[in-house]
């Protein structure tokens, strides 16, 4: 019974559509959540959604790369990166990112809708040339708008850690876009993830220098020992 | 350098040197009559010059070589300029003699060194004189140049000798526009010789002086030379006006009779002009210094008008 459902592409497509909605919801959360721990959770969920989308897509398409991508995403984005950021977050001893720049959460949600519209309009202009199913087109639109929303997060939130999550959201958007528009060679996906990991590593380490509330960091510090790793 | 020119050099220069003081006296005389006085004799200027030339020269200790050289230089310059304006006859001059522009700038040399002389002794009067002279001569310069350019326009040459050769012999001016130029030339004479309303050559009130202020430090021989220079300058300028407006009588060929006629004619015409200048001087009051530019504008207007008429004719 279940297997028949699973074998039915139309059903799978519906599920993927639902997942798209969830993705957008996570993005909205990322834009407005003030608590860093829950931000991380939202990100992990978003990544998980990516994994699920990849798996369902595999079921429709049968492209093995998708499974590999799903596995890779699961390991890196759902587990490792949130874990690492969480570790750093504890070190910095801040748990909230309260202030917003330029856009308050409500405004940014409205802007996000505009972004989705823009992504739709934009892509419809170009993908009309390609033969593409509606689902794939929608995936591309969601991917692109997720990328843009991630950028929205970067500039509207104050703390570096939040910005990093914004960046990760962007990356998820690109991943989504990639899954639906083209099937890139897997090696490239791996390299991207490695790149992402290093980047997150670096930014979060640097975030210690900037975001930390510890008194001694407020002045110009000559010798933060973050590089030699021997202290806080 | 041909014989004709050499002879011309001697005769013309000699003649101008000889008659120049006469016209000075004549103007004084006319002015005196106009004022109801009898005035000095016509020979008075000659006598003055003789007296001065025998007197010793007094120099200020502040003064320099400029003061010593200038009188000689200036007279020499004016004598050179006199070669440009044939009065006795029109010779076969070497190229360049008679060039209007050179002539204008010879006058400029005289001005330049007179002005330096004024500054040389360090007297405030001298400085004032040279300052005013240079300023006003700068303002009159466009007028002079335009007037002379108008001459060149009408007569199509830049050489006085050639110009006069064209005008000579005719009894009326070559072109009606020349009459207009003559007005400008008349004003130029007034300005260049420092006469009322521009300057008062007879003044002894320092604040109104221009030319006199600059030669305040000159004395004896040098003063004589300077006075002579002024006289020569006046004669030359008058000769230009005469040869343009009423040119008859000037001979182009060298004959004894012609020479005598032309000298006589010139003497007559120049005396009349001198009388006219004297009358003009008597009938007008000296202007304020800064009113002069507008006076000059009048001359400028006439000259420019001439050219315009020639241009659009």
């Amino acid at each position: 019974m279940i297997s028949s459902f699973i074998a039915n592409p139309a059903f799978l497509e519906d599920i993927i559509r639902i997942l798209f909605v969830f993705v957008l919801i996570t993005a909205a959360f990322t834009l407005s959540t003030r608590n860093i721990a829950s931000l991380l959770t939202v990100y992990a969920v978003q990544s998980l959604l990516m994994v699920l989308i990849a798996i369902f897509l595999y079921m429709i398409e049968g492209n093995k790369t998708l499974i590999a991508i799903a596995a890779l995403t699961l390991v890196s984005k759902v587990l490792l990166i949130p874990l690492f950021i969480d570790l750093i977050g504890e070190k910095i001893k801040i748990s909230r990112d309260l202030k917003f720049n330029y856009l308050e959460p409500t405004a940014s949600l409205i802007v996000s809708m505009g972004l989705i519209l823009l992504a739709y309009v934009f892509l419809s202009g170009f993908f009309s040339e390609l033969i593409m199913s509606k689902l794939f087109f929608m995936g591309a639109v969601i991917g692109l708008s997720l990328t843009l929303m991630g950028m929205l997060v970067i500039f509207s939130r104050r703390k570096v850690i939040t910005k990093a999550i914004g960046y990760l959201t962007m990356e998820n958007g690109v991943l989504l876009f990639g899954i639906f528009v083209a099937d890139l060679p897997f090696i490239i996906e791996i390299l991207i993830v490695i790149d992402l990991m290093i980047l997150v590593l670096l930014t979060t380490i640097l975030a210690i220098g900037l975001d930390s509330t510890i008194e001694e960091y407020h002045q110009r510090l000559q010798t933060l020992k973050i590089w030699s790793g021997s202290g806080d | 350098m041909n014989a004709s020119f050499l002879l011309f050099t001697l005769l013309n220069t000699g003649f101008i040197l000889l008659v120049s003081p006469l016209f000075m006296s004549l103007i004084k005389k006319v002015k005196a009559y106009a004022q109801g006085r009898k005035g000095p004799s016509l020979l008075q200027n000659y006598l003055d010059l003789r007296k001065l030339i025998q007197k010793e020269v007094v120099y200020s200790p502040n003064s320099s070589g400029i003061m010593r050289v200038t009188p000689y230089l200036n007279l020499a310059v004016l004598l050179l300029a006199s070669l440009f304006v044939p009065v006795v006859f029109i010779p076969d001059a070497p190229a360049g003699i008679g060039n209007i522009i050179v002539f204008l700038y010879l006058l400029a040399i005289e001005r330049f060194f007179t002005a330096l002389c004024g500054l040389d002794a360090g007297s405030s009067f001298g400085g004032m004189g040279s300052s005013r002279l240079m300023s006003l001569s700068a303002v009159i310069e466009p007028t002079m140049v335009i007037a002379f350019a108008a001459l060149a326009y009408v007569l199509r040459t830049v050489n006085f000798h050639e110009m006069f050769a064209i005008t000579a012999g005719s009894t009326i001016p070559e072109s009606p526009t020349l009459t207009l130029i003559s007005i400008s030339l008349f004003i130029i004479i007034i300005v260049e010789t420092g006469r009322i309303p521009v300057d008062n050559p007879a003044t002894h009130l320092e604040l109104t002086m221009m030319n006199e202020a600059m030669i305040l430090e000159q004395s004896g021989k040098n003063l004589a030379l300077i006075e002579l220079t002024h006289a020569v300058k006046q004669t030359i300028l008058m000769a230009i006006l005469i040869n343009v407006l009423v040119p008859w009588g000037l001979v182009t060929k060298l004959t004894f009779a012609g020479l005598a006629v032309s000298c006589l004619y010139f003497l007559l015409k120049a005396s009349l002009l001198a009388g006219l200048i004297g009358l003009f001087e008597s009938s007008i009051a000296k202007m304020r210094l800064f009113r002069l530019p507008s006076f000059y504008m009048m001359a400028f207007f006439f000259s420019a008008l001439t050219i315009l008429m020639e241009v659009f004719a």
Partner: protein
């Protein structure tokens, strides 16, 4: 083979640096590393017939353009490594750099060189993208290595703006991949393949893909409005690193744009893309020079000057004629060298005055004659005065641009006047200040900073090189550049 040897050398150098204990050995190994890269590059250029594909699956491709860029990079890294010997030691002594961080510094530096080299040699655009990303990360780490808050801040800006924009590039790549898939059956991101089949690609999609790719590469090379990270990062980084940032890393973005433009150029999308590049070039130059004019910070001035020059390079690419490309390529070399010399000199001045601000610089010529004159001469060179190479490159780029638009050339010329005025203003104001003017308010006279060994050599050698290049254009270089122009399909 080539890539493999580069990788091997890179790995060995990294290992040696990791193992070495003293600063001197680390530096020596790093110098050797750069020299080895330089040597391999020259060897390949002289002996191997290129272009060739590397490592089977056509991920890497060595042609004259990439080799040219790699040689420039290796040369600059070499100079920077020599300079770093004394400079970094000074930083350590001034306690701006912790001694424990030395090893990390050299390791990342060495890694950066390897990554840059690999990026230039990547034929697969996605691979290029990843290596370019890695260079961002490594260089940002080098900016942040000083651990001062402002450095970290600059590094963070660098990472977020450059990497964020690069994500859009990736979207562009996906476009390109799909596009090529439509035409070739299976998608590819291999530049060689794309360039060969460029004529088949749909111009409209290609334009869209170009625009996205441009966003990332523009951010990488400091094109307005993505340039904002550049002045901060370049001015806060240690000068040895600044020179690399300006001289090498900016070239990566330009290189990317150039490669993509070479594809676009063969299609109908060329006019619009060309105008697009010219527009951005002009805007970049304008914004950069206006930022330079009232600049109070020495290294910021140099950094904005980099932005300006990137704008000119963009113009040079956008013109799209072979001659323009030829001189643009030459311009890249000239700019990299000159900029490095400026940063090296500025580094010495920064050591001397502990500040980059205009009001702190005093008695330059008596305290630091070499750096002072080096800076002055390099400034002449960077504003395009003869007999330095930028002059002729500028002339010919503008000459080619004249065919497209007269007003563009005129605008650029006026903007360049502002750029020169900015340099002149800064130099005249800063370099003529005397400590004697201050009077007797107890300011003790500055002691001259002892320039360490190896810090003068790069400055002097660069000045010598640019002088030589400006006066005499070597024939082999001409041949090399002509080959590049040919290989990019311009002729």
């Amino acid at each position: 083979m080539i890539i493999l040897s580069y990788l091997t050398v890179g790995a060995i150098a990294l290992a040696l640096i990791t193992l070495s204990k003293s600063h001197r050995t680390m530096n020596a190994f790093f110098i050797l590393h750069t020299l080895a890269f330089l040597a391999i590059g020259i060897y390949v250029l002289l002996t191997t017939s290129i272009p060739i594909f590397e490592t089977g699956s056509e991920y890497f491709y060595v042609d004259h353009l990439s080799l040219y860029e790699v040689l420039i990079a290796a040369l600059l890294f070499f100079l920077a490594s020599v300079y770093a010997n004394g400079y970094v030691e000074s930083l350590v002594q001034a306690q701006e750099l912790h001694r424990n961080n030395l090893k990390i510094f050299y390791m990342i530096f060495s890694l950066l060189l390897t990554t840059v080299t690999l990026a230039f040699f990547s034929d697969n655009l996605a691979l290029f993208w990843i290596f370019a990303e890695l260079t961002t990360i490594f260089s940002a780490a080098l900016v942040a290595i000083l651990s001062a808050k402002e450095n970290i801040d600059a590094a963070i800006k660098y990472i977020f703006i450059a990497s964020g924009a690069m994500l859009f590039s990736f979207i562009g790549l996906i476009f390109l991949y799909t596009l090529s898939g439509e035409v070739l059956g299976s998608g590819t991101l291999n530049w060689t393949l794309l360039a060969k089949n460029a004529a088949l690609l749909s111009p409209k999609m290609l334009t869209a893909s170009f625009v996205f790719l441009f966003i990332g590469f523009a951010a990488k090379s400091g094109i307005f409005p993505f340039h904002t990270w550049l002045p901060d990062a370049h001015s806060k980084a240690p000068s040895a690193v600044s020179a690399i940032l300006s001289g090498v890393l900016l070239n990566i973005g330009i290189y990317g744009i150039l490669r993509i433009y070479a594809i676009v150029r063969q299609t109908q999308a060329e006019p619009i893309v060309s105008q697009f590049l010219l527009g951005f070039g002009l805007l970049t130059v304008a914004v950069a020079v206006l930022n330079m004019l009232l600049q109070k910070n020495l290294k910021m001035l140099i950094a904005f000057s980099s932005v300006e020059h990137m704008g000119i390079l963009l113009l040079g690419i956008g013109i799209g004629t072979p001659l323009a490309l030829f001189w643009t390529l030459f311009y890249i070399l000239a700019h990299s060298l000159t900029k490095a010399s400026l940063f090296f000199s500025a580094g010495i001045l920064h050591r001397q005055y502990e500040s980059n601000l205009i009001q702190d610089i005093k008695d330059v010529f008596s305290l630091q004659p070499i750096a002072g004159w080096g800076f002055v001469i390099s400034s002449f060179a960077i504003v395009g005065m003869p007999p330095f190479p930028i002059f002729s490159a500028k002339f010919f780029i503008l000459l080619e641009a004249f065919g497209l638009s007269k007003s563009l050339v005129f605008a650029v010329l006026l903007l360049l006047v502002i750029a020169s005025a900015a340099f002149a203003r800064f130099l005249i104001e800063a370099f003529t200040q005397s400590s004697k003017d201050e009077g007797t308010d107890g300011v003790e006279a500055l002691l001259p900073y002892t320039v360490r060994s190896g810090m003068k050599f790069p400055i002097l050698s660069i000045i010598f090189m640019i002088l030589a290049l400006g006066v005499f254009f070597p024939e082999p270089l001409e041949k090399l550049l002509n080959t590049i122009v040919y290989e990019l399909g311009y002729l």
